[in-house]
């Protein structure tokens, strides 16, 4: 029972980092991405390859994953210089698919569809209690970092980019640098979560990083409340908690994941209809058209 609780804390922590990182770009900068699980995956594969297979120290592999994801984040961010709103979402969709295909097909690097197994557990995660401690402190740390960032002058400009890019320019800021920075920070955070996740579950395979996972993360942020600190936490808890609740209710394993996704879908539609700011009441996307066609 205790181990089960710690297990949930670990997953919760990982997903809080993930949703917070996505919220930095979607909720604060107004650029919704559905390539986030790919960035998460890059962090996970970084640890799997450099720590699990090449036996670099964990911290080195972790950092390599973050740097790689930072570069990938740059790639995801680049379309945002030309595209907004739904067209930008489509561009991230394409990048997510490309990234997934890379993980799935380049077998000699990523292990292909089989993935990489047998990643040794690093010493600081040797028991589930320790892992829970590490993950919850990471969740706290990254939530704090995001909180500070979004309240700083830097974050204020990000928020203004979400509102009106011409206004940002009229007030003397170049949106390009801010967007790219936001994407890179977000990607690094997502990769940090991915690296810890890979070390914890000791294997990676592409099915964890699909377009559906990306959509689920975005759903979580929007359901929880975009552009706030508590919203993504709440969203991550739904993401982790719902499967457990369904298991508790006694739903057969074969349909549990389907029922879970149905509930995500319903929650998303209902939230958009009746509480566009999310449960916590953050930024609501309905107020203004984000596209200018």
């Amino acid at each position: 029972m205790e181990a089960y609780f710690y297990h949930l804390v670990v997953l919760g922590g990982v997903y809080i980092v993930l949703t917070q990182s996505l919220d930095l770009i979607s909720g604060h900068t107004g650029l919704m991405s559905i390539a986030h699980s790919a960035l998460f995956g890059i962090g996970a594969y970084g640890v799997a390859i450099f720590y699990g297979q090449m036996h670099y120290p964990f911290i080195v592999a972790w950092l390599i994953g973050m740097v790689l994801a930072g570069m990938a984040g740059l790639m995801v961010g680049l379309p945002s210089l030309r595209l907004r709103g739904d067209y930008f979402v489509i561009a991230t969709f394409a990048l997510q698919v490309l990234c997934f295909n890379f993980m799935n097909n380049v077998s000699n690097v990523t292990g292909g569809a089989l993935g990489i197994t047998g990643i040794p557990t690093p010493w600081f995660m040797s028991t589930t209690a320790r892992a829970a401690l590490v993950c919850s402190s990471l969740a706290l740390l990254f939530s704090f970092i995001k909180w500070v960032l979004t309240r700083s002058p830097f974050g204020r400009v990000l928020n203004c980019i979400r509102e009106d890019e011409d206004l940002v320019m009229a007030l003397g800021r170049n949106p390009v640098g801010f967007k790219i920075a936001a994407f890179m920070i977000s990607a690094v955070m997502a990769a940090a979560a991915g690296g810890i996740y890979a070390a914890y579950v000791s294997f990676v395979d592409p099915t964890t990083f699909t377009i559906m996972d990306s959509i689920a993360i975005l759903c979580a942020v929007i359901i929880g409340g975009s552009g706030s600190t508590a919203g993504p936490v709440f969203g991550a808890l739904i993401l982790i908690g719902l499967p457990e609740i369904l298991r508790f209710v006694g739903l057969p394993y074969s349909v549990a994941s389907n029922v879970r996704q149905i509930i995500y879908g319903m929650l998303l539609v209902l939230i958009l209809m009746f509480r566009p700011g999310g449960v916590v009441g953050g930024f609501s996307f309905d107020i203004r058209e984000h596209t200018r066609l």
Binding site: R82, R84, D86, I215, I222, V259, G265, L272, M273, D286
Partner: protein, 290 residues
């Protein structure tokens, strides 16, 4: 070998065209990416399957009924979700997110009802005609024909009929059309009906060829979206050319790279088009209004 790839490309192109036609028809009147279109594709196939094998209706009849229901399903989605969101002032991004939600619901309901494994219509693989080292089945010929007929149907609808004129008016500006007394809701519903019927049709044809899975719609939709964007949404000729381009690129690329990279190439194509698209000019035009 090459001729077979070309034939496969053409057949793929016709299913993509069918999907893209419906998708962009809905986009022209509603101005958002209707991702739940993918769910309609899947459901079209499964409904036809159930009506055929469980209710015992002959396949052709089952297909017609299923296509009709798909049209209704599209209208229903529009009424239950999108219209309500629009009334609350939702923009295209919110509508698109909602369509993700609807897609999630439908895909998983489909999986629960029919299971995740591949199903096929009862007659099995139909006989095929071979010539010049390429084989083509009757389903393939039917697919090509239906795609062509649908394209011509829409072309005539838009160019000749009063209904097409009204659709174009709504596409230009929903508010203006309403102000001129056009019943925009009916026009939008009609586009959802026709568009979703196309989706169901595409689903049935694909399922008749290679069988059906609950995720088939997503993949078909992705290709349809690529076609719609590459071709330029709303341009029928663009859609036709883009569907040929995407279908052929996808099937000819296996001579250059492995078949596992087919999708990557198509999406790389999409990214290139997106980044160099006329949408960039559109944003310049908007900048002039400030």
């Amino acid at each position: 070998m090459l001729s077979q790839a070309v034939v496969n490309g053409l057949i793929a192109a016709s299913t993509y065209l069918l999907v893209a036609l419906g998708f962009s028809l809905i986009y022209t009147t509603s101005r958002f990416f209707h991702f739940a279109h993918g769910a309609v594709i899947t459901l079209g196939a499964y409904l036809a399957y159930s009506i055929n094998s469980q209710a015992g209706v002959p396949l052709l009849g089952a297909a017609v009924i299923s296509v009709f229901f798909c049209g209704l399903l599209g209208v229903l989605m529009n009424h239950v979700v999108y219209n309500r969101l629009l009334r609350k002032g939702a923009g295209s991004l919110v509508l698109m997110l909602a369509s993700f939600g609807i897609y999630l619901i439908f895909e998983n309901v489909t999986t629960i009802i029919w299971g995740a494994s591949t199903l096929g219509f009862s007659p099995g693989l139909p006989s095929s005609i071979c010539k010049w080292h390429a084989c083509i089945t009757r389903i393939h010929i039917l697919t090509l024909a239906i795609a062509a007929v649908s394209w011509v149907f829409l072309a005539i609808l838009f160019a000749r009929s009063r209904h097409g004129l009204l659709m174009r008016a709504v596409a230009e500006s929903r508010e203006l059309a309403t102000a001129y007394g056009i019943k925009t809701h009916e026009i939008v519903d009609a586009s959802f009906f026709i568009g979703s019927a196309f989706a169901g049709l595409a689903g049935i044809l694909m399922a008749a060829d290679v069988g059906m899975t609950p995720t088939m719609g997503l993949h078909a939709l992705m290709m349809g979206v690529v076609v719609a964007i590459v071709g330029g949404i709303g341009s029928l000729r663009g859609l036709l050319l883009a569907s040929l381009l995407v279908g052929l690129v996808r099937h000819l690329s296996i001579f250059v790279v492995g078949s596992q990279w087919q999708d990557s190439i198509v999406f790389a194509l999409l990214l290139v088009v997106l980044l160099k698209s006329p949408w960039g000019f559109a944003s310049d035009a908007a900048a002039q209004e400030v």
